[in-house]
């Protein structure tokens, strides 16, 4: 089954049509994507480095993770919404881009591993949390790099 009709439909939705025409609205959506990315990156860096006992050594990493959970969820939500809107503005460019599915797969894996970090911390499995935190850092790093490069090919 081809996903092409889904991409075509996305481009025909009112936000897709609007963003394809308006440079300012498109740049504003990119800005939202970048700001939420920065907040997500800050949160992930802190939670993962706390799990690895690099920072916040006097605080329990589970407490840090819990305290930042609302920010993480909000930032992820804003990234997803703005990301879908950016794709809607030029869907076929993404449908044919080899890096795009790779970025989505890496993103899905990063989210999964991040959930793993949270679960391991809440169960007090600190060794597991450490390993997952290291994997999470590498995965989010890759997502940002792939995101930048998919716009360039």
């Amino acid at each position: 089954m081809s996903l092409e009709p889904l991409f075509v439909w996305l481009g025909q939705t009112p936000p897709g049509v609007f963003l394809a025409k308006s440079t300012a609205a498109f740049a504003a959506t990119e800005t939202l994507h970048l700001i939420s990315l920065a907040v997500l990156a800050g949160t992930v860096l802190i939670v993962d480095l706390a799990s690895l006992r690099v920072i916040f050594r006097e605080t329990s990493p589970a407490g840090v993770a819990r305290g930042l959970n609302p920010v993480l969820i909000t930032a992820l939500g804003a990234i997803a919404v703005s990301g879908v809107l950016l794709v809607a503005a030029g869907p076929l460019k993404y449908y044919t881009n080899a890096i795009f599915p790779l970025k989505l797969a890496t993103l899905a894996l990063a989210v999964l591993v991040q959930v793993g970090v949270y679960r391991a911390l809440s169960r007090d499995e600190l060794g597991l949390a450490r390993g997952l935190a290291a994997a999470s850092l590498a995965l989010w790093f890759s997502v940002i790099i792939l995101g930048r490069w998919l716009g360039l090919i």
Binding site: T23, A24, F26, A27, A28, E30, T31, L34, I35, L37, A38, V39, L40, A41, G42, T43, L45, I46, L49, I55, F56, E58, T59, G63, V64, G67, L68, P70, V71, F141, I144, I145, R148, W149, L152
Partner: protein, 163 residues
Amino acid sequence: MSLLSTVIHALYESPVPTALRESEYAFPIIQTIHVLGVAAMAGTIALVDLNVLGVVLKGQRPARTVADVLPITWIGFALAILSGAALFAAQSEKIYGNLFLQLKFALLLVAGLNVIVFHTTTRKSIEGWSEAIAPPLSAKASAAASLLLWALVIAAGRFIAYY
């Protein structure tokens, strides 16, 4: 030719910016470093601001949060400013008249001043803040201004490419 345009011209034509401009890979690699640096810097600053404002990490004292994340903020800042300077130098003659670039520089100046105000005045009292003693209004205003300013810096940066 004005002094500024002479200086910009010399910068633009100097060897390193010229090499960056002509290389197929150097430019996107430096752009990627810029995004990573900005994300690490702005992300950690935003979390400190939200902590001062009492939105996140409520049990955590802002003094500790600042002390813990400051190294990440500095690394992000160093990456962002070095890569930003390289990106600017490589395109300087083409973009120094760009309205959004000028706006970004102005916003960076104000955001930088806000950082200096935070670290010279606010942070002196920060050690005393706790769950019982909330940060003073001036600190909260500085944190809110910081959130707004860095968001605007990112916005202006993104708009440079389109205008």
